[in-house]
Amino acid sequence: MDDFLAARSQMALSLGFHIIFSCIGMVMPFFMAVSHYKWLKTNDEAYKNVTKAWSKGVAIFFATGAVSGTMLSFELGLLWPKFMEHAGPIFGMPFSLEGTAFFIEAIALGFFLYGWNKLNKWFHWFTGMVVGVSGLASGILVVAANSWMNSPAGFDFVGGKYINIDPIQAMLNKAWFSQALHMCLAAFTATGFAVAGVHALMILRNSNKDFHLKAFKIAAIFACIGALLQPLSGDISAKDVAKRQPAKLAAMEALYKTQKPAPLLIGGIVNEKDKTVKMAIEVPGALSFLAHGDFKSEVKGLDQIPENEHPPVAITHYAFQIMVGIGTLLLFVALIYFFTLFKKKSLTDKRWLLKLFVLAIPLGYIALEAGWVVTEVGRQPWIIYGIMRTKDAVTPMPGIAYSFYIFTAIYVSLSLIVTFLLYRQIKMVPVLYNQPTSKTPNQ
């Protein structure tokens, strides 16, 4: 394996791994806070049990997310030293703020996990809330650093030198808002569907129905609101990308030729050599509308972009199709769920709806990873869009392939262990939470 490819693969793997854990870590605290609040208000033990059960999941995910995040802060330098040498002082602002947010999150989590029966109950609830808010803030800030790579700002690039550096302006770059919004909604949707799906599965199996039904309802409402809002945020993102990164948009839609009006391609097989797309469904004028809000406008194709600045078209296009396809599917699930709520029908009778949620367990995360691929692969060959190429940033150290293999092994085994632990936590729910006056399990 060539070093450059290995470095890119290792980075992709680390981010792909970290993104799931950090999304769970930033969203779950909100679910917990709702359930915790309901317990404090209603004194219904089931809500307390749901909160406790979730908090164990959060502890596992948070620790894994924290160590993989520590890993990333070093990996940026280990793999891309030339990028960090120049970019560090420019896009460092969100990282230094994120450090603070993350620190607060870790402290609050310490209070929350170990504070049962030790703290004032509302202070305890508040610390749980702080975990969520600071987690969300960390996420938004980290996205600011990534969006800067897509939309560099806060410096002048003159004769190969980075001058007039302004880190605040860099943080407030043009892509930040649309990317952060899309990412946060994705985190809520994906995590919501995954959690709701797991509880739906347990309801279908008739175990601890009350417990799982309560948990399901909290997660499902977050998931469905997220799924409803996501297309709107997607639209903002599409228009933004069309304006700033035409090459990315063209790759997302495999638009090789500039067209007016441009059709939207659904599916299809991309042939990068011949620059053609076969067997796609064409929706006339739809891409013009999505990109510019006008069915007749022109959309820039890859033919207007120098060949050596083309991103890999096939990967970007397929990833985009997967993301949008799953997003649409989840939108329908959400609509059905709201309809059921509106009609006040009992959920436990609608086994097919619960089964739909079970099917959706991995879907949100698949869409989220696909979206990440779109934004990262779609930016290639640049690491800083229009300024520095990824291949010029890679470390001079040879043999990166070995470190890629090692980390693949580590991440795969961590994923397996975490899944195994969750499986055990769920399996033990009847034992740990069945008695109405369960004594505090663990500690």
């Binding site: 164990k56 502890a59 596992i60 948070f62 620790a63 894994t64 924290a66 160590v67 995040g69 520590t70 890993m71 802060s73 070093f74 940026l76 330098g77 280990l78 030293p81 030339k82 960090m84 040498e85 120049h86 560090g88 002082p89 460092g92 602002m93 990282f95 230094s96 994120e98 450090g99 603070t100 620190f103 607060i104 870790a106 402290i107 989590l109 310490g110 209070f111 996990l113 170990y114 504070g115 030790k118 703290l119 550096i165 880190p167 605040i168 470390t395 001079p396 150290m397 040879p398 043999g399 470190s403 090692i406 580590i410 961590l414 262990i417 632990l421 055990r424 399996k427 033990m428 663990n442």
Partner: protein
């Protein structure tokens, strides 16, 4: 603002060394505890570091963020030439953090515990070892940007007697910090005596490895002795460290346990001051004899100003909250 940022960098490194170090040390103590007492050690340790360990490791993140935002040249030099030890340290951090959480949150306690424990103990040893190796390598003068072949550039930059001695010395100090900390965390006399014994061993180990560091420095022509002894600050720091050590053992015999940890922390701080003061503000020593100094490699003014502000703002939010966390969970359960 330059000084604010540099102070936070030093503070981050120091606190990571003290708090994160005591954390690693707890695992080292567990590693060197006989099998029959291990579960007792684990229990005390869990109560002691459970609520605070994540926060303790945040100091590393703070230090690394300051380095890459404020001192990108130092950060990238380290990441290129110390790639391998950094990687091993990171694997250690990942393995240790996850094993610690997994062993506690595994709903069924079975044979898997054996695996978690093994991973936790060994990574608690390996991580500070490599942390020390990295610290040693930074000042060892073995980093060579002009190196022609792979091993000269990427292996011997850290694999040398001096760096390894610093690594072992770090391990011993971590173990010492943890043993002292744990003495104050247990009410049980038997456990107390065990931890005192451990503190003694770790103290002896620290002295032995400390001597090794000086010998290796001498063989390697690193002016460590000059830094420490031919400099008023360095010399007084060493004297204070020795005095606090004597006081520490005196108080230990007297049975005062809580104040010990302050003394132990003070002592380690003094050792760090003694080693680094004369070297400051130089950060990295290269093979060519050149140094990379903090002031020369500091980032652009606007970056440093905003970084400094972010750190000050952050510490207003973090420190009281963190202090309360330590205070709240330090008190014994009735």
């Amino acid at each position: 603002m330059d000084y604010v940022v540099i102070s936070f960098l030093c503070l981050g490194i120091l606190l990571y060394f003290l708090l994160g170090g005591a954390d690693f040390g707890a695992g080292i103590i567990e590693l060197f505890t006989s099998t029959k007492n291990r579960s007792r050690t684990r229990k005390t340790m869990y109560q002691a570091i459970g609520p605070v360990w994540e926060a303790n490791h945040m100091w590393l993140i703070i230090a690394i963020v300051i380095l890459f935002v404020g001192f990108p040249h130092i950060y990238t030099t380290m990441s290129v030439y110390l790639h391998i030890p950094l990687l091993i340290m990171l694997i250690g951090i990942i393995a240790r953090g996850t094993a610690f959480v997994f062993r506690h949150y595994d709903a069924i306690k079975d044979d898997m515990q054996w695996l978690y424990n093994r991973i936790f103990r060994y990574s608690s040893f390996v991580t500070p070892l490599f942390l020390g190796i990295i610290a040693g390598s930074v000042i060892s003068g073995h980093i060579d940007p002009n190196a022609k072949d792979f091993s000269a550039a990427y292996i011997y930059s850290w694999l040398n007697w001096f760096s390894v001695s610093v690594g072992l010395f770090t391990v011993a100090l971590c173990g010492f910090l943890a043993a002292i900390y744990l003495i104050g965390e247990t009410e049980d006399d038997f456990d107390k005596r065990r931890f005192i014994k451990k503190a003694e061993y770790m103290n002896i180990a620290a002295v032995v490895f400390g001597a090794m560091v000086f010998i290796a420095a001498q063989l390697d022509k690193i002016p460590l002795i000059d830094w420490v002894f031919k400099n008023t600050v360095g010399l007084s720091a060493i004297i204070l460290a020795s005095l606090s050590l004597i006081l520490l053992w005196y108080l230990l015999i007297k049975g005062k346990t809580k104040v010990l940890r302050i003394l132990a922390g003070f002592q380690v701080t003094m050792i760090l001051v003694a080693i680094s003061y004369a070297h400051f503000p130089n950060f990295i020593r290269l093979k060519s004899g050149d140094t990379i100094s903090l002031f020369e490699s500091i980032g652009p003014e606007k970056t440093i100003n905003s970084l400094g502000l972010a750190l000050l703002l952050g510490s207003i939010l973090i420190l009281p909250f963190l202090g309360y966390l330590f205070y709240k969970f330090q008190k014994k359960e009735e």
